[in-house]
Amino acid sequence: MRYKFTLKVILFLLFLLPVVVFSQNTLKGNLVDENGEPMFGVNLFINELSKGGVTDFDGNYEIKNIPDGNYTVKVSYLGYKEQVVSVSLKDGVTVSLSIKGLEPDVQLVDEVVVIGYGVSKKREVVGSITKIGTDELADNVGGSFETNLQGKAPGVQVTQGGGVAGGGARIRIRGTGSITAGGDPLYVVDGIPITQDGFLNGDRGGQNSNPLSTINPQDIESVEILKDASATAIYGSRGANGVVLITTKKGKKGKPQFNFNTTIGLSMPSVNFTDDYLSMNEWLQLRQEAWENDGNVGLAPLPQGMTPDDIPEQGKNWFDEFLRTGFRQDYNLGMRWGKEKIKLYAGFSHSNTQSYLKGNEFSRTSGRINFDYQPIDKLKFSFNTSLARGFTDRVNLAWAGGLGDAESTLLPLYTPENDTFLNNGNLNPAFAASNFDRNSVELRSINALKINIKPHKNLDLNLTGALDYMNLRDSEYSDSVLDVTNGNANAKLWKSKVYNYQFSGYGEYNFAMLPERHRLKLMGGLEFQESKTTSDFIEIRNISNHIYKDYAEFAGVDTLNENNGNTVNWRFFSNFYRLQYVFVDKIILQGSYRLDGSSRYGKDRQYGHFPSLGVAYILSEEKFLKDSKKVSFLKLKTSIGLAGNSNVALGINTFGYNPNNTSEYGGYPTVIYEGEGNDKIGWESNLSFDAGIEIGFLRDRITTELSFYNKRTLDAIVQAGIQSSTGLPKKWQNVAGIQNRGVEFQITSRNIVKNNFLWRTDFNLSHNKNKVLSLENVGADALQGSGDTRVVEGEPIGVNYLIRFSHVDAESGLPVFLDKEGNETFDWNEENRVSVGSVQPLFTGGLSNSFTIRKNFSFEFFFTFSYGGKIYDDAAKRQFGVVTDWTMNRDILNRWTEPGQEDAKYPRLTMDPNTYGGMGSEWFYNTDQWLHDAHFLRLKRLSMGYTLPKKLFAKNFIRGIDLKFTAINLFVWSSFYRDPEIVRDLNSDQAVNLSPNVTYLTPPNERAFNFSVNVNF
């Protein structure tokens, strides 16, 4: 019964009964479905004349001024297969035609995906590739495109990095396979591996740059994520952590089509945390309690030399000084146009995004032109150019201050004495903030000229020359009023310029002489890439503003520090081949090989070999399945391959004295030894095995994919492993082995496909298990992440390595810990630290349900979730620990207060860390009491759209208007009291690998409400 119903739904077909009326060179008609309902918005196009029409709300269309002749009319409608009908038009004759109904076009088999150095039919792909379309990327107003990949692709874990304007996301494809080396995927824009190092201009104030933020999401046509070695090995030494291929929009043949899109929105914190803290009186009371618990009498001394007279009547709410409702706006204009030989896409955008943090905003102005010129069939030139400027007004974050201060050192009893000072003698933070400015400007231009030659119908040659230019300026200006002692204004500028050149050539040849049932394709090519980074730093005293311009004019004025022209460069030289063999459209065999040479490695280790081999078998082509009504597509695939990771700091392959890095002692010059490099350092390589199955059911109304992988990083690079008594705290080495094993599942189902109601569900689920296989002689404390995460053999990367807290002793009120063996102890001993959790989730995924009603209304509910893993609240040791000069969380009110109290959550208060088992400092108090389950389910996006009826613009130049309202991060279900999605203010690749899910006053993600209008004309 149920099955029959489903079948009915599946077999739902729309029959078009057009009545084609011929009269006086005009083609007229009416399209109705099988129920006699008119079909609106169906395109009719007369190929021979390059003209056409669209049915109106009543299903009528009319195409005028048609000369006599035989024509083919293309009938197309979104979501349906195209139909072509022939029609003969002669004066005075009426022709009646009956056209078979349009079939829903849900087959995935003909979809084309971008693979490295070429494209492929999706059905013939052997590797694991997820394609994400443009409409799914443009939702994040003013933000960085990669943040929108969250929950979209199985095996791709995206964690949004807090609510900071212009901030990026942490992306891990199929787990974390690196420790000290960067674990980010390789980003390739239109074939060019772009500059993507977020740390190249350093970090300050708890932030570094996000080089992806200047890519306008609206310019992107599609994003393909290559996940397994068979897909990524063609990128050789840079493919191990996955590859994200970004393809920008191209011109389209036809009249110029414009799209104007504008969005306005509001931003606020996604979780409420401002009420979590003690009031002034509570704080004073608890401090007194701690003081007396410690055996003291009298009033507890106030912090910062304050006296009781300094205590204000009412405490100050410091959050008001740092929070606001952010306002954002976004404008985009895109144009697509094309003729026989020329195609053009042009896009311009400006966006300005304020976060909910006062003084923090990001704006991006960008332009892109993609121009194709094809003078003859065999020759095509493509020129892509983009220019973007990103501007980030930064504020101090987390440990650096700002909102972080309000949650730590800014006590409610500190109140402004006057505009400048607080009652504790410190500068008023509001005054300090208004006289200190930090911003970052990124100029980015990605340019490529490509020549495509087809000397022969089976040979396709491509030559590319590209330049990716990036100019980063981080600037600070501190007004003279902030220097209370000397009254000096101070300006600092950090500049980095990166020129990234790429030259490549590759050819693809189809072996045509093979027997009919065999197809063979060979691709081979060469690539050279060079990147030059020049960094400058200057600090000048007593100037009146930021050092923006060429600072030569300030030289010698009052220069404190200057470090110019520090240049580093690297090169890649590669050749690569891919051979694809297809047997009767059902067995696909693919092998690839890349030989990569990189200047980043030690002299004898510069070249690496990266082969892959994969096979796919399309079972649905076999007789026993060919006519199955249930299974419409079935493919099995498996592959094995080796890829590398070159996302390592520059200069790790050399060491020695640097005559350009000097200092001075006693009036005499000195030279600096830069010894952390290792001339034996080599590739971090990743051997991966994959198997997958793709199934389409019911004419591909339902498509699923299930894959397994087992990845092993061999020779992972770490920066550790030597005793600091050598004089070097760290050394680069290839020592670690890491394993990532996982399962991914994805399903897309068009649950209901009716003319006036569409319901589609997308669901994906990924499981990854990470394990450090070997570390040689590197001990647990040699590889640290923020918040006491570690790398321990046999455990996942980023294990929480903590002392276990057991309970509060009812009699003494003292904390009881567990020793290594699990016995209770009062003693605080760092040797009792054990692995108690992991920052890595077990499962992550996304669930989207979208509905389209009467073709005008659309709704989408998009959830992301994460299950398993732990969050470590690294600030808890101060907010719930020893009573110090920090503000504390209200939950501390559940402390032990009297002997016999059994249920105390926190031990008796103290101001002396020694009280807790002889702990040396309040900073040591890292226990699993601050470890929380990291599960969450988040309504990432709720959107409602309305497409204005087309008939409103029938006689207008406007083709359509869409309105959309989107709510981002509306709800989150989580057992953690703050935002469960955390990427801390991390300042190195290792920290990003080891310490996601570790919060330290990290600002939560934003909740945003956006309203947008999209006009096509």
Partner: protein, 461 residues
């Protein structure tokens, strides 16, 4: 057509081969085995060794402060974080302050090792080689001695001194940096330090002709006197101190206030860290004790101030070394002057006090008292009373050591030295002198890379 394709493919392969040069990028670093071509490089690296030694994390402040925090000169009741942990005498392995001390001291050692590795083969004036070598042996002695005092129980804590000291780094092998190196015994570390200083004494002239701030033979002798004095080896300490004082090369400052000033020719400097040029020696010392606008981070303890106030007329108090700020006692050796000073690491005052105490211990009471009186008189106090017993006189010398050298990282080691010398129940700020926390815990950076490396016992005091 197929021929063309073959050509292209063959071409691609050919282009690739022989492309080693393609990957050669400019590199500014020169490996140490190729770096030293003349005296210039030797001088640069030797200077770098002294710069690292003088850094504010090392002898420029950190080493001094570490021991002061653990002793009784400082009021640390409101200290938090790393300083709080030191004050509580419960340092763990995660203390940045410790990491920095360890790192910088050993970085200076490594610079010395790299020069000593190759200097015999460097084409340069042979007469200058011993001077560089002597200076660098001196560096290694200072780093090992100061570290073993902080990170290990004192000399004579065990009868044979086989208790754990620190790793001895007297070699540099770039090919084997990952080779684990364990802690040597305290005995071995002291033996090494003494050998190094004796080598320096042999190699160095009495006046260093290369740089004024480099050590000379007398600096090495003076340091060796400090080492023997720490070992309670009074005879050796006396002889060496005597040699240095009698050399006539140094005179007591007329005014103790001059000891921390910007006079590079200070007559008391036996070994100092220079602030010539852009370098600000002692920044880590000044910064903690001095604050123009507010109470400084480090203030003096009541216990110290009481001892400093026990005699009327003490100029060190009235002239401002020991002052008050609000409710706090502050140390102001740099005279409220936060500009560059030259920082004395070994001065004649210390040598006089070493000789004084050693002489008394050895029965030369009058000679010892003469030195003591010189210090007392300069501080505006009369000579010590004649009727004092030897024990009382020795205590008086120790008291003057405390007052003269407060802030200079001396007190903790003095108390331990006194404790092992027959005062087994001595307490330092309420805790027994040899409790585990009286020794700084080794930093994680050192322990993490060597599983065999033994940390100090935990448990504080």
């Amino acid at each position: 057509m197929n021929k063309h394709i073959l050509h292209i493919l063959v071409g691609l392969v050919l282009v690739f081969t022989g492309c080693e040069k393609v990957l050669e990028v400019e590199d500014q670093r020169i490996q140490e085995l190729n770096y030293f071509e003349s005296e210039t490089e030797v001088a640069y690296v030797t200077n770098e060794a002294f710069r690292r030694l003088a850094s504010s994390d090392a002898m420029g402040g950190g080493v001094w402060l570490a021991s002061e925090l653990m002793s009784d000169n400082i009021n640390g009741q409101l200290l938090q974080g790393d300083f709080g942990a030191y004050y509580n005498r419960n340092t763990g392995i995660f203390i940045s302050f410790t990491r920095n001390i360890w790192r910088e001291m050993y970085a200076a050692t490594a610079e010395a090792n790299r020069v000593l590795n190759v200097i015999d083969d460097v084409p340069m004036d042979e007469n200058k080689k011993p001077i560089y070598k002597g200076a660098l042996h001196f560096v290694r002695a200072v780093t090992h001695f100061e570290l073993v005092r902080l990170f290990a129980q004192p000399y004579n804590f065990t009868p044979d001194n086989r208790h754990l000291g620190i790793p001895i780094r007297n070699f540099w092998d770039i090919t084997n940096l990952t080779e684990p190196l364990n802690r040597s015994s305290v005995n071995d570390v002291y033996t090494f330090v003494i050998d190094e200083l004796n080598t320096a004494i042999d190699l160095l002239p009495d006046v260093n002709p290369i740089q004024q701030s480099y050590p000379n033979a007398l600096s090495a002798k003076a340091y060796l006197a400090r080492v023997y004095f720490q070992m309670n080896a009074f005879d050796m300490a006396y002889d060496l101190a005597n040699d240095v004082i009698n050399s006539g090369q140094y005179q007591l400052n007329d005014d103790f206030l001059d000891r921390f000033n910007d006079d590079i020719n200070n007559s008391e400097f036996i070994f100092y860290q220079s602030s010539m040029g852009a370098y600000n020696a002692g920044a880590g010392f000044k910064g903690h004790y001095f604050n123009n606008d507010n109470v400084p981070t480090i203030t003096l303890s009541e216990n110290f101030y009481e001892e400093a106030s026990s005699e009327n007329g003490d100029l060190r108090r009235s002239d401002g070394w020991f002052g008050t700020r609000g409710d706090f006692y502050v140390l102001n050796k740099v005279g409220g002057n936060n500009e560059n000073i030259h920082q004395p690491v070994l001065h004649l005052t210390e040598l006089m006090l070493i000789r004084a105490e050693s002489a008394m211990e050895l029965g030369m009471v009058a000679a010892g008292k003469a030195d003591l009186d010189a210090i007392r008189n300069r501080a505006g106090l009369g000579s010590a009373l004649d009727e004092l017993s030897v024990t009382q006189l020795i205590e008086e010398v120790q008291k003057q050591r405390r007052l003269e050298m407060v802030g200079e990282g001396n007190r903790l080691h003095d108390l331990k030295r006194i404790a092992v010398n027959g005062n087994n129940s001595l307490e330092i700020r309420g805790s027994i002198w040899n409790c585990p926390g009286m020794v700084v815990q080794l930093p994680d950076e050192e322990l993490g890379a060597n599983a065999q490396m033994q940390p100090n016992p935990q448990g504080g005091c």
